[in-house]
């Protein structure tokens, strides 16, 4: 973790020490004070695993959370660029609309759940159900993802630089998953497909934006076989 004392305190910066003020005062200012201010950068100190840090931002601002965050960090983010200098609890960047969230450590379950847009980068591992029900968000995980990741993912891209757990992409819609490591098992209706030139281009750009140097040629593509799109009365509940 960087030393806070050495950071420049510009006039356009503001900091909230969560050992002194409640999360609510931070979020209240982000929602109601930020727009009228000249502040471009917010430091959040001593997050100590508190829930709902910096949720619902609706303006372009840079936020650095200096430590480990709890559940729902940066949820519903729009326009802002957040960095967590630590780990996050469940549901980081859930329902993100735009902007970016970078987690320097690992993320617990349901990272990026139901996200509509923006970029979520997890430099470490992501736990179970990463990208569940994603709706357009782009997620890049530097390490592995846990079981049931991208469950019912509707749109967007999940990039896994490490291994994937069980039931990857179960009941996928139109989201696409790229995996560099091993896949423990694929979920119902998910299948490995050949990489096209478009895939390589798209993945190359995404990896670069996320700050990873992997060769897109090392990845495989997982997408929906679309056999669950229509009700099959003969399936006898066997998927």
């Amino acid at each position: 973790m960087e030393s806070v004392a050495t950071l420049p305190q510009a006039a356009t910066g503001k900091s909230f020490d969560l050992s002194q003020v409640p999360v609510r005062s931070l979020n209240d200012w982000l929602h109601n004070g930020l727009a009228e201010s000249d502040i471009e950068h917010v430091d959040v100190l001593n997050p100590d695993g508190a829930h709902s840090i910096a949720v619902g931002i609706n303006a372009p601002v840079k936020v650095d959370i200096r430590g480990h965050a709890g559940y729902y960090c940066a949820g519903m983010n729009k326009f802002a660029d957040l960095t967590v200098h630590g780990n996050v609890g469940w549901g980081v960047a859930e329902n993100m609309m735009s902007g970016s969230v970078r987690v320097k450590g690992f993320a617990s379950e349901s990272a990026g759940a139901s996200g509509h847009g923006g970029l979520l980068v997890i430099e470490g591992d992501a736990s179970l159900r990463c990208g569940i029900s994603m709706k357009g968000i782009e997620i890049v995980v530097g390490g592995r993802v846990g079981d049931f990741s991208a469950f019912m993912a509707q749109a967007g891209t999940l990039v896994v630089c490490g291994d994937a757990g069980d039931a990857l992409g179960d009941s996928l819609y139109e989201a696409v998953i790229y995996v560099r490591g091993k896949i423990k098992s694929l979920g119902a209706d998910a299948r490995v497909e050949p990489m096209s030139e478009q895939d390589y281009d798209k993945l190359g750009v995404l990896l670069k934006r996320a700050g990873f140097n992997h060769d897109p040629k090392e990845f495989k593509r997982v997408a929906s076989a679309r056999t669950l799109y229509h009700w099959n009365a003969d399936a006898n509940q066997e998927y």
């Binding site: 709890g70 780990n87 609890g89 469940w90 690992f106 736990s127 179970l128």
Partner: protein, 298 residues
């Protein structure tokens, strides 16, 4: 919800501070379980042959002196009583079978919370901060502790349904989650002569695992059978005489995070419970994987 907390001190010099370090962890998890709290503390072993029993009385100013007198009259042996309001730890040379049977007949209003050579149990209803204060948790010393804050889903809010649950000797379990087939487990175990004390789902899991270990499984083997037979969601934290064990079911819907340093290992439902531990910034932090057994030895 519910919160779980585990703390095992590796550095013997820190063992006097067990309660001081662990109590804030438990209180922080009060947000996940505000209605009951409890813990099992392991304070080192009594000699072979000696036993201690944690007892719970229905009233705070219970006549423990009268209980002690009756005990000595019945068994004719020495007994030591450490009293804390409605809780008392009885130390003696009598076997669990004898003591439990006698307490049940002679003092049916008392509840024997635990039996063994190393473990004491304190649990009651109330906010974890109040329960911790009531029994002076900050003053506890020992090697390891297993704690719980409860938000009831499966049975009533009463002291005997608070966690930890115990079975056999020096074996306890706390649980975040719900077991879906506790009555099936219970019917199966009752056929083996195992007696249940509450209708709580966690009690079924505790007695199932302890039964497997008495049948010859080691902890890993018992938990493997647990994966097959216990249906539901769980993060379990298990305490034995010299071990702290952590396991999550295959779906891992119930959280846990662990922090390990050279001095200690600390486990909680959420990081915020661990955030103020000494040197936690340099601890190895990780989230336990589903269906993997994590065991730390004293």
């Amino acid at each position: 919800m519910c919160g779980i907390v585990g703390f095992l001190i590796k550095n013997p010099a820190m063992r006097d501070r067990l309660g001081e370090l662990m109590t804030p962890m438990l209180v922080e998890m009060g947000a996940r379980g505000p209605e009951s709290a409890g813990l099992a503390v392991f304070r080192g072993e009594l000699p072979e042959g000696a036993r201690k029993y944690s007892l719970h009385a229905p009233v705070w100013d219970y006549d423990w002196a009268g209980f002690e007198a009756e005990f000595i009259k019945r068994f004719g042996t020495e007994a030591q009583m450490a009293v804390k309001g409605n809780h008392a730890v009885l130390t003696c040379d009598e076997s669990a079978d004898h003591v439990k049977r006698w307490v049940k007949q002679r003092f049916p209003q008392l509840h024997v919370l635990s039996a063994g050579r190393a473990m004491d149990i304190f649990k009651d209803i109330g906010h974890p901060a109040e329960v911790a204060k009531r029994y002076d948790f900050t003053g506890l010393a020992g090697t390891h502790v297993v704690g719980h804050t409860r938000m009831a889903t499966e049975s009533a809010v009463t002291p005997d349904r608070a966690h930890p649950f115990t079975a056999g000797e020096d074996f306890c379990l706390v649980h975040n989650g719900t077991i879906s087939n506790p009555y099936m487990i219970r019917r199966k175990l009752e056929h083996q002569g195992i007696v249940f004390e509450t209708d709580n789902d966690t009690e079924a899991a505790t007695r199932f695992l302890e039964w497997r270990m008495r049948e010859g499984d080691d902890l890993e083997g018992a938990l493997q059978k647990g994966f097959e037979e216990l249906d539901g969601f769980y993060t379990f934290l298990i305490g034995t005489r010299d071990k702290l064990a952590l396991v999550r079911d295959a779906f891992a819907c119930k959280p846990a995070v662990a922090a390990e340093t050279d001095d200690y290992v600390a486990i909680a439902s959420e990081f915020r419970s661990l955030a103020r531990l000494p040197d936690v910034k340099n601890a190895k932090l990780f989230e336990p994987m589903p269906e993997e057994l994590y065991v730390w030895k004293v």
